[in-house]
């Protein structure tokens, strides 16, 4: 039949006042890692929500074909039944429960009136092995590091017989070693025929791992590229595809003449409340002058809001000093 395991064609999704997806078409071959890149708000998450049934059939127009068969997902469960699993940035594990309880949450092993823990545990071991995770199935999830939790999520997807695995910014919260480990596991899964849709802002990872790249911009597909052919993309090309629009919106630019420095921020750091070893804002210094507009750019989650909020609404424990 078709070489594509997944075909989404002419997807249009509108929210009041905005067209989040405008005639997006997207194809994934079976057994490939397909990266989906784009700026904040380009439509990546909306596309995934359409694919997974979070936005049910009827709330968008267009077609979704899995293995060439038309699909009309009403619920997340419908998409799971054909083998689509989505792993979001905020993990969906229950922290207080054990690994095995999480793995089979909602699909418990056993009879209707009792859980068969022996079967569950031995099956769990098998799935954990598949993601190279050497932990006990009875470990409590919240005691695992974030990297391991991510792998438990992937094991959970494998347990559901996922054939299309969608990862939304999987390495955003991981350190380099955990990221490398995760990428390695994705490669192994690919070699076993699992297709993977990989959303990431880390372009170096995209180049390292992706077999194809699709770029979205302003709710439209810009292009899809084969990363093995002669036309493979490098980082600057991807960046220019991501932003390559003209400045069509008009801005009332007025020349300002910045005066004296009003606010000086020096060596500003903010601890991550979830992980005291990490700083969400790390040693930032900047000045603001009288009568100027200072823009703060960056991707979502870069720490911009935390930086500004900590300055203006700062918490007593923050040992931060703003000084001249």
């Amino acid at each position: 039949m078709s070489e594509h395991i997944l075909e989404m064609s002419n997807i249009v999704k509108e929210f009041p006042g905005v067209r989040a997806l405008d005639d997006v078409s997207f194809q994934v071959k079976s057994g490939e890692i397909h990266a989906l890149v784009g700026e904040n708000g380009a439509g990546k998450s909306t596309l995934i929500k359409v694919l997974s049934g979070v936005h049910p059939n009827g709330s968008y127009t267009g077609r979704i074909l899995v293995d060439g068969v038309d699909q009309q997902f009403q619920h997340i469960r419908d998409s799971e039944n054909v083998g689509i699993a989505v792993i979001y940035q905020e993990l969906a594990l229950v922290p207080q429960m054990t690994v095995v309880e999480n793995l089979f949450l909602g699909v418990e092993r056993g009879k209707p009136y009792a859980i068969d823990w022996d079967t569950a545990n031995s099956e769990a071991k098998k799935y954990l092995e598949e993601v190279n995770l050497d932990i006990s199935p009875s470990a409590v999830v919240k005691n695992l590091g974030i990297g391991k939790q991510q792998l438990v999520e992937i094991a959970k997807a494998i347990a559901k017989k996922a054939r299309i695995l969608v990862l939304d910014e999987p390495t955003a919260a991981l350190n380099e070693q955990d990221s490398a480990n995760l990428l390695e596991i994705l490669r192994q899964l690919r070699d076993r025929g699992v297709s993977c849709i990989y959303i990431s802002h880390k372009l170096n990872e995209v180049i390292e791992i992706a077999d194809s790249v699709t770029v979205l911009r302003d709710g439209k597909t810009v292009s899809t590229h084969d990363m093995h052919g002669a036309n493979r993309l490098d980082e600057p090309r991807i960046v220019s595809l991501m932003v390559g629009r003209d400045l069509t919106e008009r801005f009332p630019r007025v020349e300002h003449t910045p005066g004296e420095v009003v606010l000086q921020v020096r060596d500003w750091s903010v601890q991550d409340p979830d992980d005291p070893a990490k700083n969400i804002v790390d040693n930032v210094s900047f000045d603001v002058r009288q009568g100027e507009i200072l823009g703060v750019a960056g991707l979502m989650g870069a720490g911009r809001t935390e930086l500004m909020m900590s300055i203006s609404v700062s918490v007593a424990q923050l040992r931060c000093v703003a000084r001249n």
């Binding site: 700026e39 708000g41 802002h201 880390k202 170096n204 980082e235 600057p236 960046v239 991501m242 932003v243 390559g244 629009r245 400045l247 069509t248 919106e249 008009r250 801005f251 009332p252 630019r253 007025v254 300002h256 910045p258 009003v262 606010l263 000086q264 903010v270 700083n279 969400i280 804002v281 790390d282 040693n283 930032v284 210094s285 900047f286 603001v288 009288q290 009568g291 100027e292 507009i293 200072l294 823009g295 703060v296 750019a297 960056g298 991707l299 979502m300 870069a302 911009r304 935390e306 500004m308 909020m309 300055i311 203006s312 609404v313 700062s314 007593a316 000093v321 703003a322 000084r323 001249n324």
Partner: protein, 186 residues
């Protein structure tokens, strides 16, 4: 701040020091949706409408009407609940609320998220008017054209670290995005 070291322990300290932060989450943190425009506007600066710790309701209405007019907030009256306003007009109410605190540094977090083009343009104009009066504006934005179109200088944050500063004349979308994804200027 102007050469003085600030010790900010709570939002009140920040307001008194001349800082104002307009949140990106206007419905959750920026406004009390069930209250009217008037009460929302005065919320961060009750002192401006009070005397001897008693709120002067006439003064409150008078000041709110001024802001409704100058910010061109479209509403039948200042007693309209903000939940009934459109996103753009809600954003203007939050902006008015913080302008009333007379800040020296106004921090805007995604000031035009989810509002229509016309309201965006009006908010840009208000920003320029404030700057002309000597207020400093720090604008966080994920929309590159907006950052590049409005700012005099742009600083780019990547994973909690400052990854570069660009003057508006040299800032292009490509350069900014490269810095935002962790690349270097060269």
């Amino acid at each position: 701040m102007r050469g003085k070291e600030l010790k900010i322990r709570n939002p009140g300290d920040a307001i008194r020091a001349g800082l104002a932060y307009v949140t990106e989450d206007r419905k959750g943190k920026g406004l009390v949706l069930g209250m009217d425009i008037c009460l929302n506007t005065s919320l961060a600066a009750l002192r401006a409408v009070s005397r001897y710790s008693i709120i002067n309701l006439f003064e409150e209405i008078r000041i709110t009407e001024q802001y409704v007019q100058s910010l061109r907030i479209k509403t039948p009256s200042v007693e309209q609940k903000v939940t009934n306003l459109s996103g753009g007009n809600q954003q203007k109410v939050v902006l008015g609320k913080w302008m009333l605190t007379q800040p020296e540094v106004l921090i805007l977090d995604e000031p035009t998220r989810g509002i229509d083009v016309g309201a965006k343009f009006e908010i840009y104009k208000v920003m320029n008017e404030l700057v002309a009066k000597g207020v400093c504006i720090v604008m966080i934005s994920s929309e590159l054209p907006e950052v590049l179109g409005m700012s005099d200088r742009v600083i780019v944050i990547h994973q909690g670290k400052l990854n570069g500063e660009l003057h508006w004349s040299e800032a292009t979308q490509e350069k900014t995005m490269t810095l935002a994804t962790g690349g270097s200027e060269k």
